[in-house]
Amino acid sequence: MVLDTSKLGLPVEIGQIGKELKKLWEGDGGTMTRASLINFAVYCEGAEAGEQNTEFIIEFTRDHACRALLIIAEPQAAETTIHAWINAHCHLSRAGAKQVCCEQISFVLEGKASNLIPNIVFANLDSDLPLVLWWQAEFPDPLDGRFWALVDRLVFDSQKWVEPTKQFKLLLDSLARTESRLAMCDLNWTRSLHLRQALAQMFDHLENRRILDGMTTITISYAPDFRSTALLLVGWFAAQLKLELKHHDQAQVILATPRGHEVTCQLVAEPGRSISRCQISAPEGVVEVAREGSGDFFSVDVRLSDSRTYHHLLPAGNNESASLLAEELALGGRHRVYIKALAVAKELM
């Protein structure tokens, strides 16, 4: 692997990481504050991803005090090698002129050394702090479930998977086998967070609730690469409104309300944002949340059947992985609604 290691810091022996970190802090003359609230491990494959994550972690530590572990793997490499580096990222704190620093330990694992990930992570955690693992690749088959015992939050992005059905099966089977209680954090689910919040806010308003109760059509416009995001959104509607799946094809999903009324979800692939529009239609009115161009906000329109209309702007968030991760960490908790939405979405994938 040809990797620019200049930003990874000081090369160290694997067995000497703890000692070298101690030296690193002893040399600061007491001018810096080391802060850590989580262990944040990133697993990625290939040199390019490694370099991107190195840059990402520098920025990430500005807002998230952590011990970062960057694992750059090349499982297909013929030769088995392990290399490690340590580094510190210091920023001025929000509170004032104090330098706040986070540690980063980086590993490059080639060939069979990739199998050592659990051991490497276990050995280098900041004790008693939760572990957030961001797995940026496909999960290997078979998937070693023993690792999950250590992980508190497993972050992944199902939108980037080539075979989501297979990946979900691997992951869910593995979690079930080990009876893991980790929180699954799918950035593909976080991607629709602001859209779901905007939709939910419209129905906090009692007057609009009748649109939800009487809805006949949900139209979701999605960018072609983001069909899985749209399907999770369909899963969300189905799970939260107790809609039963009746029929589905590429263009639409037919759902039924508990009273037997049909709701048609039209799925429209078109260039644009991951989900550029979601419209809920009922005889009582229409709620439409749309994001146009490069704006940071959703344009929300409510058109009631008596000709009254409202227009609002609501935050739309950002589709960058770093922003999605920040949203995810700010949200916390276990994603029970995601599990329910996923159960429906898997049927549609």
Binding site: L37, Q197, L199, H205, V302, P315
Partner: protein, 529 residues
């Protein structure tokens, strides 16, 4: 004077009692861990006042920018000065750009601005309220706000009675369509028990207690809210949180500023009424209260009220012994010379108003028997900050804590502002062959650990009031109990002969030496901030 004897606050509707009935939105699950407010019309009395420009509108703007302000919410400013909707919006835009923690986004402002209106009227003019009622009805009809209304009294307390009377006379204290009507009342809530009681009576004749939100912005601060989490979400503190392990508690609120332009207000108030009656007693209550049965507003406030009721009432002799009042003289702050209080603008040259007060408070209950709470608050002190320091009892005088060489106590400090955080002081062996023990500090800083800034206190409090959550607002019995305690001190100062002395202290010092003596005679000392 206005008469309010026959005004009825109106029936308590089922969903006014439980706002969550209305928020059973199936799409909300997992998206918010707090009750979401219903869309409403927010009417601000005192629309041209400083608080409106610097705090209230920026807070409402930031709620909108974060997507937390219900989309159909309207803001109506009510004031005497002649303005149009457009001119008020222009002024608000300018001040919000200056005061908002997130700056001002043109897109968000342009979506909020059309929902802002100005209503010009004298506070005592009933017709002004009738036209307001018609305006609110129109807005309700346009946007389906269901008659939900929040009235914010950002005016002098002398205006409360007039405004509330007219609100009731115009029927604005009851929603025309079965929604909720609530009132937020700014401090000071009275100037003594009698006036607080009268104000409560006035408010109570117009609004139900559950719809009355007495704001104390200290309670909206992140660290104040964290006191309950620290105490009751951790297993290690609560077993120690009592007279067996705690020696005493110090609550400090210090300011480097003088009275600035608030001379006339301060002359009629003083540090005891301005800070201790509300902010500092609130912090004391959160520190001293028993665990509530649940996190409901009344469960928490019930426990706080029990603390207020347990405060040992002071006799004039107790006041002389346990309370020190001071007034700043000339001195220096941050290397610059500053004038004394009596030289300040619109302050009497013979003023007897205290700008500093230190007091020893006893909480007479089982948990806090013989544990004094020392409170000090002052202006023109060398450093600004608010904190609660829990000082634990000394370790036994065996092994390391020998009588001749006593070690300092463990101190848990909760910093409310600035540099919000928590620190714990403990003893530690210095490296070396000999046993040498020094204090070390474990320190947690919000600003260092969390990159995300906390919302402003007013954002949280406005959202809570719109959601009907009164947890962070003071209840009537809490306010009156606090005044009962404060009145005994004020009476001793102003109604006994000879009155206890008013000490002076130079600006830039930590207060009068008598305040140090208050602790020294019990073998204690104020913490160095």
């Amino acid at each position: 004077m206005f008469s309010l004897l026959s005004i009825d606050p109106g029936p308590i509707t089922a969903y006014a009692l439980n706002p969550n009935i209305l928020s059973s939105n199936p799409l909300r699950e997992g998206l918010s861990s707090r009750p979401m407010p219903q869309p409403c019309n927010v009417v601000i009395f005192g629309a041209s006042g400083d608080l409106t420009f610097r705090k209230l509108i920026p807070a409402l703007y930031n709620l909108a920018a974060d997507g937390d302000l219900p989309a159909a919410t309207h803001i109506i400013g009510f004031a005497r000065r002649e303005k149009t909707d457009e001119s008020w919006r222009t002024e608000l835009k300018e001040s919000t750009a200056k005061s908002s923690r997130s700056g001002l986004n043109e897109g968000i402002w342009s979506s909020v601005a059309p929902r802002i209106f100005y209503h010009q009227s004298e506070f005592g003019d009933l017709e002004g309220y009738r036209t307001l009622a018609r305006k609110l009805d129109e807005l309700d009809a346009q946007s389906g706000t269901q008659g939900n209304r929040l009235f914010y009294l950002s005016v002098s307390p002398t205006e409360y009675e007039g405004i509330l009377t007219q609100l009731a006379a115009a029927g604005l204290n009851q929603s025309p369509t079965g929604g909720w009507t609530r009132v937020i009342v700014e401090k000071p809530f009275g100037t003594d028990l009698r006036s607080a009681h009268e104000l409560n009576e006035v408010v109570g004749r117009v609004f139900h207690e559950k719809d009355t939100f007495r704001i104390d912005h200290y309670l909206g601060k992140e660290t104040a809210q964290n006191i309950l989490v620290l105490r009751f979400a951790n297993g290690i503190f609560e077993p120690l949180w009592n007279h067996r392990y705690i020696d005493h508690v110090q609550i400090t609120a210090s300011e480097t500023l003088g009275v600035e332009k608030r001379g006339p207000y301060y002359e009629s108030s003083g540090a005891l009424r301005d800070m201790v009656q509300n902010h500092l007693l609130q912090l004391l209550c959160l520190t001293a209260m028993e665990p509530p049965t649940d996190l409901g507003a009344d469960s928490i406030r019930d426990e706080k009220v029990k603390v207020v009721r347990s405060l040992r009432q002071m006799t004039p002799e107790d006041v002389t012994k346990n309370v020190v009042r001071g007034q700043y003289g000339a001195g220096a702050i941050s290397g610059k010379e500053v004038i004394g209080y009596r030289e300040e603008d619109r302050v009497s040259p013979t003023s007897q108003t205290e700008t500093y007060v230190a007091l020893k408070v006893n909480v007479d209950n089982w948990r806090w028997a013989d544990v004094p709470f020392y409170i000090r608050v002052g202006k023109r002190l060398p450093k600004g900050g608010t904190e609660i320091a829990i000082q634990f009892k000394h370790a036994p005088s065996v092994l390391f804590n020998k009588p001749g060489e006593p070690l300092g106590p463990n101190v848990l400090v909760i910093r409310i502002q600035p540099d919000e955080g928590i620190s714990l002081r403990m003893q530690c062996k210095m490296p070396g062959n000999a046993i040498r023990i020094e204090p070390v500090k474990m320190d947690f800083h919000y600003g260092t650990s969390f990159g995300k800034a906390s919302p402003e206190a007013y954002e949280r409090l406005l959202l809570d009031a719109m959601s009907g959550d009164a947890t962070l607002f003071a209840r009537r019995d809490e306010v009156e109990g606090a005044w009962r305690f404060i009145d005994a001190i004020e009476d001793a100062w102003h109604k006994t002969e000879p009155p206890p002395p008013l000490c002076t202290y130079p600006s830039g010092s930590w207060g009068p030496k008598e305040a140090d003596e208050l602790l020294e005679r019990e073998g204690r000392a104020w913490r160095r901030l």
